[in-house]
């Protein structure tokens, strides 16, 4: 009996000594000395759940010319762009390419007097960047450091690819060694949903953008909510941005419910707005050499880590805007629009996602996505004539672009507005006051500004600088 008690006491002693051994080991080797410096700019924001840049490159419109004076325009350009990418990849697989600058007249001759097909991006993109997305293994034309907003193929030169930047009025021809039947292939991918099109010069007397005649649409108003309004999304975004330092960043909540996370004295800030928008800014840029495709993927990866991009509301994201600046530190601004019913959506602040990459590191992000509600198809009805939209709103366009409040001379405003249009295509405008997606003509100006006009009435809905 006594020995049984002694054995039980021994077991208790062993357990106590074991626990104290573990405790002493923890005290001696616990990581209590870590500081709270940056865990790399962007924290753990990089996400493998991000869409690829190549997948987000889409055409806003396609043009097909018969070569005998008639041109069709289609906003349903995915099939034509897929064929265009195949043709580009085929050309880039060759061993030889030569670049040349051509005149506007030479370009229009090739497009109008010969069967031709072109695809437009709706914004200027670096050509070598676009080609690196389409044919990453080819090194042809990688030194072609030019901005283009459309790529074209013409039977006038089956061994060539043409490109244009309507913003600067520049035109290019890239000559390869072997001809291809590109026009036939792209033409066969052209769908039935197209309209006769004329240039603004043909319809208004000035301007190079193609405008459709007699377009119809079934788009109708649709309610929407904020895509990222939940507290969990905001907290996840903050954890992703700040990484290990999240537990120690300053968090300020104002009386409206907007939350600011601030590291240091503003070196790195994350803003979570009560209405659902998320904004990130850092004053520290990267030091890597510039590369369009890599910066684009970095932008998407960061955005995916900072709130996610795989929800239903973020599917069919598309690259819709681009600008670049800086010499010593190259800065690129990417804009991405959500798509609803095949058309891009823009809000008062512009597209849903904009990301700035400087020196290879993300230095800015704003996401304000929408979550579309139930859609009730409208009747198929005639859209407002784009030519009339430009003509009737030329004063408005002029005043916004010029920053003027005085009424300009009508001819001056008209000429200026018509020349400033880079593209005009259907989309949705997210009206913040009515919480409605309103069908709209989205007019993009050559400086990156966007105007939204009611698709059926042609009246101004808003604009984004």
């Amino acid at each position: 009996m006594r020995s049984a008690l002694i054995e039980k006491i021994k077991v208790v002693i062993i357990v106590v000594l074991f626990i104290t051994t573990i405790l002493l080991l923890y005290l001696l080797w616990s990581p209590g000395g870590r500081g709270i410096g940056f865990s790399g700019f962007g924290g753990r924001s990089a996400s493998s759940d991000a869409p690829t840049g190549a997948g987000l490159l889409r055409a806003e419109y396609a043009l097909r010319s018969s070569g005998s004076g008639s041109t069709e325009l289609s906003y349903d350009a995915d099939g034509v762009f897929a064929a265009a990418k195949e043709e580009l990849a085929g050309f880039l697989a060759q061993s030889y390419a030569e670049s040349s600058v051509i005149s506007e007249q030479q370009y229009e001759l090739a497009m109008r007097d010969w069967p031709s097909v072109s695809v437009g991006f709706g914004c200027g993109l670096p050509l070598n960047g676009v080609l690196s997305l389409i044919a990453p293994e080819s090194q042809l034309l990688r030194t072609a450091d030019v901005i283009v907003d459309s790529i074209a193929f013409s039977d006038a030169a089956p061994d060539s690819v043409f490109a244009r930047d309507s913003g600067s009025g520049s035109h290019y021809r890239f000559i390869f060694g072997e001809p291809r039947e590109s026009v036939d292939k792209l033409s066969s991918a052209f769908g039935d949903n197209s309209y006769p099109a004329y240039t603004a010069r043909d319809l208004l007397g000035v301007g190079s953008v193609f405008l459709p005649l007699g377009s119809f649409s079934e788009l109708s108003d649709m309610p929407f909510g904020a895509a990222d309004g939940s507290k969990e999304v905001g907290t996840d975004a903050a954890r992703a941005v700040f990484g290990d330092t999240f537990s120690f960043v300053r968090r300020i909540t104002d009386s409206f419910g907007n939350v600011t996370y601030m590291y240091g004295y503003g070196e790195k800030n994350l803003y979570l707005y009560a209405e659902g928008a998320i904004e990130y800014r850092t004053t520290v840029s990267g030091t890597e050499a510039s590369d369009f495709a890599r910066d684009l993927d970095a932008a998407l990866s960061f955005a995916a880590g900072c709130g996610g991009l795989r929800g239903d509301e973020w599917k069919a994201l598309r690259l819709c805007g681009y600008s670049e600046s800086g010499i010593r530190v190259h800065t690129r601004n990417f804009s991405f629009a959500q798509s609803v019913l095949g058309v891009p959506v823009y809000g008062q602040s512009g597209p849903a996602l904009t990301v700035t990459v400087s020196g290879g590191a993300v230095t800015g992000l704003r996401r304000e996505g929408i979550d579309p509600g139930t859609y009730t198809p409208g009747e198929n009805r005639a859209a407002a004539s784009p030519a009339n939209v430009i003509a009737n709103n030329s004063n408005h366009i002029y005043n916004i672009l010029k920053g003027s409040v005085l009424a300009p001379a009508s001819d001056e405003a008209f000429d200026f507005a018509a020349k400033a249009v880079r593209s005009l295509a259907p989309g949705y405008y997210a009206d913040p006051s009515r919480k409605l997606l309103v069908p709209a003509w989205v007019l993009k100006a050559s400086g990156g500004e966007m105007f939204y006009f009611d698709l059926y009435e042609g009246t101004p809905l808003g604009y984004t600088r």
Partner: protein, 176 residues
């Protein structure tokens, strides 16, 4: 197998391990205490060389601390958390930072000596010659001097409050 003998051996081994680990730990604590005392002595000497009078003890403790999430409220009176005052700067004196909850992790802080050295590096030599440090303590500090937006909630960070004959100074305590 003789389980009783095995238990005796295990007890003996664990006792030896505990004694060894305990000894190492006590030596470490002793070394850390000596280092803190040396740092405090070094700081006193440094202040003396600058001509700064020190009439308060330099606290030796510098435990890792979390941030403190606070709400900004009017007429709530002085606040404290875990034995440290919660101080709000940059707003009307009627407002206080009321503790809500502490942050999820703790991080090391600089000691009082280093905080004093930082403060001395900010001040002009003429000021130092007539400076007298009358108190130094650990606090949670909300600095709203550079923040213009209205705040319902904010975050207090660990800081050292240094009271002198020329005013009160605050030095953030996190190491970064």
């Amino acid at each position: 197998m003789d389980y009783s003998k095995a238990k005796n051996i295990i007890i003996a081994l664990l006792l030896v391990a505990n004694l060894a680990l305990g000894s190492v730990y006590m030596n470490r604590l002793s070394a850390e205490r000596e280092a803190r005392e040396a740092a405090a002595a070094s700081t006193r000497l440094y202040l003396q060389e600058l001509g700064v009078e020190l009439s308060a003890p330099i606290p030796a403790d510098e435990p890792p601390m979390p941030v403190l999430y606070v709400s900004i409220e009017k007429d709530a009176g002085p606040q404290s958390f875990d034995g440290c005052d919660v101080v709000l700067s940059g707003m009307d004196e009627a407002y206080s930072a009321v503790p809500q909850r502490k942050g999820p992790g703790k991080a090391p802080i600089i000691g009082a000596g280093r905080a004093l050295q930082r403060l001395m590096s900010w001040l002009e030599p003429e000021v130092l010659k007539s400076l007298e440090v009358t108190g130094i303590d650990r606090i949670f500090w909300v600095d709203r001097r550079e923040i213009s937006a209205e705040a319902a909630e904010d975050t207090a960070v660990p800081a050292w409050r240094v009271q002198t004959n020329r005013g009160v100074f605050y030095i953030e305590a996190y190491e970064n």
